[in-house]
Amino acid sequence: MTQTTTSSSASGPKLGPLGRFLKATEIDTRLLGMVGALVAIWVGFHLYGLLVNGTGVFLTPRNLWNLSVQTASIGIMACGMVLVIITRHIDLSVGSLLGFTAMIMGITQVWVLPQWFGLGHPLIWVVTSIVGLILGTIVGGFHGWLVAYRGIPAFIVTLGGLLVWRGAAFLVARGETISPVDSTFALIGGGPYGSIGATGSWIVGLLACAGILWMIVHGRKQRRKFEFPLRPLWAEYTLAILGCGLVIGAVLVVNAYPWPRGIVAQYAEANGIEVPPEGLFISHGFAIPVLILAVVGIVMTFVMTRTRFGRYVMAIGGNPDAAELAGIDTRWMTVKIFALMGFLTGLSAIVASARLNSATNSLGALDELYVIAAAVIGGTSLAGGVGTIYGAIIGAFVMQSLKTGMVLIGFDAAMQDIVVGLVLVLAVYVDKLYRSRTK
């Protein structure tokens, strides 16, 4: 929770001339709204727990750490779904494809590779992951080919895919659950050993801060070079403090969540460490899947804003005919977009099956709906041409926060579905109101 207090205290004093503040810092009001909604959900669940159940458990390092890990799988896929939806398509097959890919990877690492390499060989997780990523990319690219070159609507292609790949996930192992996965592979899913610890988290955090500062300084230099209007200095400082504050806050939270006693004892015994009577405090730090999500988010943001590919995705979404007339090969672009979606689904399958430490044919069931909802809540317009990666990631956090929060306060599954459904419709309605107002 440190991050939200940092952000509100930094912007608090200037709330009077809020418009001027937003203009100077060039912070997107949509972004602010989404973060606001997320904070409201968090605080709401915490207070509800505090008042009704006597203990607020939502805003604890433990819950926030778990939330971040649970969000990773959906968040990774949402980053790809943004591109698909921006170009006016949809992908309903990601959940099933995740299950199928996970099953194939399960078979690869449990049944096939140990025969060649021997059990626990360090190459197993590498080969398995590559198999998963390639398989996801090929299947996604095939969907894209059917859409682009055979003219079948994406809705139908991927609706078919939803059934086909779920069925295939069952058939490849006749419905068996494959478990446990390779021990190195399992680290990708998080857990105490699948986290980078306190020191590692500080290094990541400081690198991130350095990156934020570099972006601000470099951006200012570019603007000066081309004589574009500069942000006022105080706005630059505010942005720097805000950004670094968020990162450091996140580091403090994940470092405040210690390993469970049992794992500590096991670890101490294995490494010959004496455990003092008051216990050893070993921090989790950032979980590996969360770092993967962060890298995917950064890379995809870069792709969308700094590469031709990203520019063409936006152009196709804004006006497919204009994109075609501008010489963009829109059909090949569609194949690439779906292939990228498939790649990210493969990556997500790695994270999801590693976290579960097994591959089951039902893995990822209904994920497509959560992924689409995350993208849409994050401001991606189903009419095409509008959407951001950071929005989709925040959207994934919103969805996961709702799920987790309702479990924590004891809502049953039926009630959870009702709330998630209502929130999705409400979010799109609010988004529509916002757009028609700013137009």
Binding site: Q222, R223, K225, F226, F228, T305, R306, T307, R308, R311, M314, A315, G317, G318, N319, D321, A322, A323, E324, L325, A326, G327, I328, D329, G385, V386
Partner: protein, 255 residues
């Protein structure tokens, strides 16, 4: 009877072009040519086939039969990218802008400037856009908003800037002033004169007969997908041209 006043190799020669959609001949064995520094008007009713004919040149359609020669050499134009390679630029009636992108992104769409590592150089593109817009439409200020937020005239100037910026040799303008006010129309007329002086060849699809009389050197009239005839605008009256458009009647000067 007078003939084509130009001599030498034409910049563009479209020879015997035909294209049909579902059994309907949209363009029926039509030939047109265009010389450097010349404006050729393409006239006719809606559905006469002028836009379809010209889309074969811009790469949006492929002709069923016929050949296109650029500077006397046979050209293969199968898509808009090919057309751009021959320095053919088109300003479409619909403007063909991606509404969700800003002016610079639209101007450079498909031909982005990239910096080190092949990444988009947005700052450079915006700077170039500011430069060319300063020349074409000095009042243009909205560089950082999507073009959906621009007025019709501003959008038009973005579309024109896109065609002019990349050193077009052959410019196709499909009703460039249809959505414009009088002041902006005048601006486009001046621009056409300026580009003509620079030696560009311009195909102008236009309904307004006065604009044709003012801007064009020659006018090709089409009706029902066929070529009615071509006239040197200086040798005929606007009534002659209207007669060609409406009744398909060829005046004696036509060829």
């Amino acid at each position: 009877m007078s003939g084509n006043p130009n001599s030498g190799t034409p910049l563009v020669e479209m020879r015997d072009i035909s294209i049909s959609f579902g059994g309907i001949k949209a363009v029926d064995h039509v030939s047109v040519d265009l010389y450097p520094g010349e404006v050729v008007g393409l006239l006719g009713h809606n559905g006469a086939g002028k836009s379809t004919l010209i889309k074969c040149l811009s790469g949006a359609y492929q002709a069923d039969t016929g050949e296109i020669f650029i500077n006397g050499e046979k050209a293969e134009i199968e898509n808009p990218r090919d057309a751009r390679k021959y320095n053919i630029e088109t300003i479409y009636q619909t403007l063909a802008l991606a509404d969700n992108l800003d002016a610079a992104s639209n101007l450079f769409l498909g031909r982005e400037l990239v910096g080190a590592g092949g990444f988009l150089d947005d700052a450079q593109m915006e700077a170039e856009t500011r430069k060319i817009m300063g020349r074409l439409n000095p009042n243009f200020r909205k560089f950082n908003v999507p073009v959906s937020a621009l007025s019709g005239g501003q959008r038009q100037s973005v579309a024109i800037a896109r065609a002019v910026y990349f050193n077009a040799k052959i410019l196709i303008m499909d009703e460039p002033t249809a959505a414009l006010g009088p002041h902006e129309t005048q601006m486009v007329a001046e621009l056409i004169q300026e580009l003509k002086r620079q030696g560009l060849g311009i195909f102008l699809i236009e309904h307004d007969i006065h604009a044709v009389m003012e801007l064009c050197d020659r006018a090709v009239v089409m009706k029902n997908g066929q070529r009615v005839g071509c006239v040197n605008v200086g040798e005929v009256t606007d009534d002659d041209i209207l007669g060609m458009i409406i009744m398909g009647k060829k005046p004696p000067q036509a060829y």
